[in-house]
């Protein structure tokens, strides 16, 4: 059953419909002609994977669309996912010089999707592996960082085994991104595309520290890459967190992506249930909107600071608002109320800035609700990282992404390299692969 909100908005998102419709060939041609083919373009600098954006757009314009896709994928093997999920409004499109004269950037993300879709649809494998090196690298984590690293290593002629704790590879592309950004099983289609290169074996259901140790991996392989992500979830640290109806947002999102029953019921017997999402990042937005898609009647996002400080971009905040999410700011959770063992509401304290510090005002607000979703950040789970130096709660790496252990490299969300985005993880994985290649050839 869909929520009452579903009827109110003709542009209401659903879990299986594209958030942004793909370009037609005509749209792609028209949009490609807007690109000025800048010299040393700002959009390229703004992309963590440094895709040659003017180059690929020019190829779309000349009808060399598969060539455009190759240009994209050569820099970013997950260019398909990034085209769908990147916050382009703060990356490449924000840098587009068309903003200056017309306040309207070239729609780079949609052009990138067009090109990569054409290649995927054609079923073309545009890359060829270099001659085998005889070296074997273990990659821990089958998410964007791990797969990007594995793909580049395989291209360079190395053999790669990917150890993935979950049932499927893809990481947050498969389990974490909002469903309406990744329709038609795109994450798995992309994984299949990456693996079709050859030289990469994926072992799922194998977790570091539980099924395999770092010491063993180092012993059995010539190098190791850790793309672990952040498997731990931050807690609110307030009373009532164990009540029925309280769940981690990432678990709800993962369940919805897998078409499984979420850990908390979102659809209710009448018009759905009332949900409060605690947090202000993209995960909070994804959980809030998808809760509405899944049947929730009312969804409120509560964040302890203002909209300017939210991790979610302005674009994501607007999307949440237009979908019917109520954004409430300067509210920090203090207690989750229960009745009969189930959530009945959440008490929040109104916050304020005082001499540059966030402080409680003592005033509280109670929002009655049935479900509380926690989206206040993830953290590294240290299990299995024996002997590795950490820094700031993440794995410590040098500028080559080498960890404190020889032959062990790391990238993606488990290190602090930039924004916790797919595109950053891909950039890390690719950079680490080149570093590992150099290490193996040294």
């Amino acid at each position: 059953m869909s929520g009452v909100n579903g009827a109110a908005h003709s542009n209401q998102l659903s879990l299986d419909r594209d958030l942004v419709s793909p370009f037609t060939a005509l749209q792609a041609m028209a949009e490609s002609s807007r690109c000025l083919y800048c010299y040393e373009a700002a959009c390229v600098t703004a992309c963590p994977t440094a895709i040659d954006i003017p180059g690929f757009i020019r190829k779309i314009g000349t009808g060399n669309v598969k060539g455009a896709a190759r240009t994209i994928l050569d820099a970013n093997i997950m260019g398909g996912t990034c085209a769908r999920a990147c916050p382009t409004e703060v990356l490449c499109e924000q840098a587009c010089v068309r903003n200056k004269a017309e306040a309207e950037p070239v729609l780079i993300g949609r052009l990138q999707r067009y090109a990569t879709d054409v290649l995927f649809k054609a079923g073309v494998q545009p890359f060829t592996r270099q001659a085998p090196t005889g070296k074997h690298v273990a990659v821990v984590g089958g998410g964007p960082a791990g797969l990007a690293c594995a793909h580049r290593l395989a291209l360079l002629g190395h053999e790669v085994t990917v150890f993935e704790a979950r049932a499927k590879a893809g990481g947050l592309n498969e389990y974490g991104l909002a469903a309406y950004k990744m329709v038609d099983d795109f994450a798995q289609r992309e994984v299949d595309f990456i693996l079709s290169l050859g030289g990469i074996t994926v072992k799922t259901g194998v977790a570091l520290g539980r099924d395999v140790t770092l010491a063993q991996l180092r012993q059995d392989h010539d190098a190791v890459f850790l793309g672990l992500g952040l498997a731990g979830i931050n807690t609110l640290g307030v009373a009532g967190e164990n009540l029925a109806g309280v769940a981690d947002a990432v678990d709800v999102i993962a369940a919805l992506r897998q078409r499984a029953a979420p850990p908390v019921a979102l659809a209710g017997p009448l018009a759905g249930r009332r949900v409060v999402v605690i947090g202000g990042g993209n995960t909070a937005v994804d959980a809030a909107i998808q809760s509405l898609c899944a049947g929730a009647a009312e969804v409120t996002m509560a964040y302890r600071r203002g909209t300017a400080e939210m991790g979610a971009t302005g674009h994501e905040q607007d999307l949440a608002r237009t979908q019917g999410v109520v954004l409430r700011t300067w509210l920090a959770p203090r207690e989750i109320l229960g009745a009969g063992g189930a959530v009945s509401g959440v008490v929040l304290e109104r916050m304020a800035m005082d001499a540059g510090r966030l402080v409680g005002t003592g005033e509280t607000v109670t929002i009655p609700c049935d479900v509380v979703l926690k989206a206040v950040g993830q953290k590294l789970t240290p299990g299995g990282l024996d002997g590795l130096a950490l820094a700031g709660g993440r794995i410590q790496v040098d500028e080559t992404l080498a960890t404190s252990l020889p032959g062990v490299y790391a990238g993606g969300d488990c290190i602090k390299s930039g924004e916790d985005l797919t595109v950053q993880s891909v950039a890390d994985g690719k950079a680490a692969a080149f570093a590992i290649d150099a290490y193996l050839k040294a």
């Binding site: 041609m29 002609s33 000025l36 800048c38 010299y39 040393e40």
Partner: protein, 428 residues
């Protein structure tokens, strides 16, 4: 409101915008639609002797930009494929219903006086205002000894013009082909033959494109293609040059000209008029957008003339002709340099890479505040205008004349010219 009325070779029209002899002017139905839209005149699609020609299927080729805007257009269509009698009847009806509009009739025949004079005599009773001799068609008809086959031989141009002039009292406009080495030879021949005016340019020999699947020219007729006649916006510069050559040539100066070639806007038309044309003829733009474009051509030209204080077409007609000179008459001491408006600059870098890779390394990149700063190196800038042309922002890069204090100096007088012509005094 400016007065747009014009007269060329005695033919009057309420505005200078005529439709050229081409598919849009093949029959009464189209021409009535054109006159309703506001066109000042038409040149009826070329008539020939019966039996009518037969056209092939697949006739047009196009050169489009990445937005599918028509840049160039070509065709392999022949002259009218309708019986002469039908065309003559419709011409008479149109002229009767639209007496204030110019109705000129294009004609073409084999190289005999009987054929040309006969056709002219058949057309005269329709009430048409004039004749246009089609010496230009570069495809098909020329293989039968007509069109450009005549237009490319000045003696034949003169001969046919004289035959037609002797056969009719109607004004005769000779339409010139650009597929020659020097347009003046045929223009002068037309004048010698008694032409009342010339019109140019006809279409240019061309292959619009090669279909890389069929491995054949487009338009492709059953796997084969042939060269066609090229027109549209891309040919305007070629047409302007040929018009200017005739307008400033001592032997043809004053010969009325109807300008043709890539005219699609009032601004295009104004440029041809400034080079001395008395009317302009349009085809590709109408075939691309329909007859309604004439509304802005009239409105825009009129508004521009009001702004400039020109009351009639004669007030600016030919004004640019004296400024068209030979290269040898240019001032070698003139210096202009590029200037970049940093507030308008959007940091695309195109001026830099164009100059750096292909010109004079005269635009350097400096680190700026939040964006790159592109700076013209005055010592290296030769004033070539390339940066101004490649800049996507209007008026961001402008060219500025530099004060040198040096006199007007032509190449023949230039100290570095090995064949320098010294002024009489210096030669002593």
């Amino acid at each position: 409101m400016a007065d747009l009325r014009g007269t060329i070779a005695g033919i009057k029209s309420p505005n200078p915008f005529w439709l050229a002899s081409a598919p849009p002017t093949d029959k009464e139905y189209n021409i009535v639609r054109a006159f309703k839209a506001g066109w000042g005149g038409v040149v009826w699609k070329t008539l020939g002797e019966d039996p009518p020609v037969v056209n092939v299927s697949s006739r047009y080729g196009a050169l489009l930009d990445s937005n599918r805007t028509m840049i160039g257009f070509n065709n392999i269509e022949l002259i009218t494929d309708r019986p002469l009698e039908v065309n003559l009847r419709e011409i008479a009806a149109v002229k009767k219903a639209w007496p204030d509009r110019a109705v000129v009739v294009s004609l073409m025949a084999v190289m005999t006086e009987e054929a040309w004079a006969g056709l002219a005599r058949r057309i005269e009773p329709t009430g048409a205002d004039g004749l246009e001799l089609n010496f230009g068609c570069p495809h098909g008809m020329c293989e039968r000894g007509m069109g450009s086959a005549i237009g490319q031989v000045p003696e034949m141009v003169e001969q046919v013009t004289r035959w037609v002039k002797n056969a009719t009292r109607l004004p005769v406009i000779v339409k010139l082909t650009p597929n020659i080495t020097n347009v003046l030879w045929s223009a002068e021949a037309a004048k010698r033959g008694g032409a009342d005016a010339v019109s140019l340019i006809n279409t240019i020999n061309s292959i619009a494109s090669i279909d890389l699947d069929a491995m054949a020219p487009t338009p492709t007729v059953g796997g084969k293609g042939t060269h066609g006649g090229y027109c549209g916006p891309a040919v305007k510069p070629i047409a302007l040059n040929m018009v200017a050559e005739i307008a400033r040539n001592p032997d043809t100066r004053g010969l009325p000209i109807s300008g043709i070639g890539g005219i699609g806007t009032w601004r295009d038309a104004a440029e041809f008029l400034a080079l001395g044309c008395g009317s302009v003829q349009v085809c590709t733009a109408a075939m691309t957008y329909g007859f309604r474009i004439v509304e802005d051509m009239i409105d825009g030209l009129s508004a521009w003339m009001d702004e400039k204080g020109y009351r009639t077409l004669a007030d600016f007609q030919g004004r640019a002709v004296p400024n068209v000179v030979n290269w040898n008459d240019l001032n070698m001491n003139f210096v202009t340099k590029a200037k970049i408006d940093q507030d308008l600059c959007i940091d695309c870098g195109r001026c830099h890479i164009a100059c750096e890779d292909t010109s004079h390394q005269a635009i350097r990149i400096l680190p700026g505040d939040g964006k790159r700063l592109f700076e013209v190196v005055d010592e290296e800038c030769v004033g070539c205008n390339l940066c101004a042309h490649v800049c996507p922002v209007p008026d961001c890069i402008t060219m500025h004349e530099q004060e040198t204090g040096r006199p007007y100096l032509t190449w023949p007088e230039h100290p570095q010219n090995p064949a320098r012509v010294l002024p009489p005094k210096a030669a002593e």
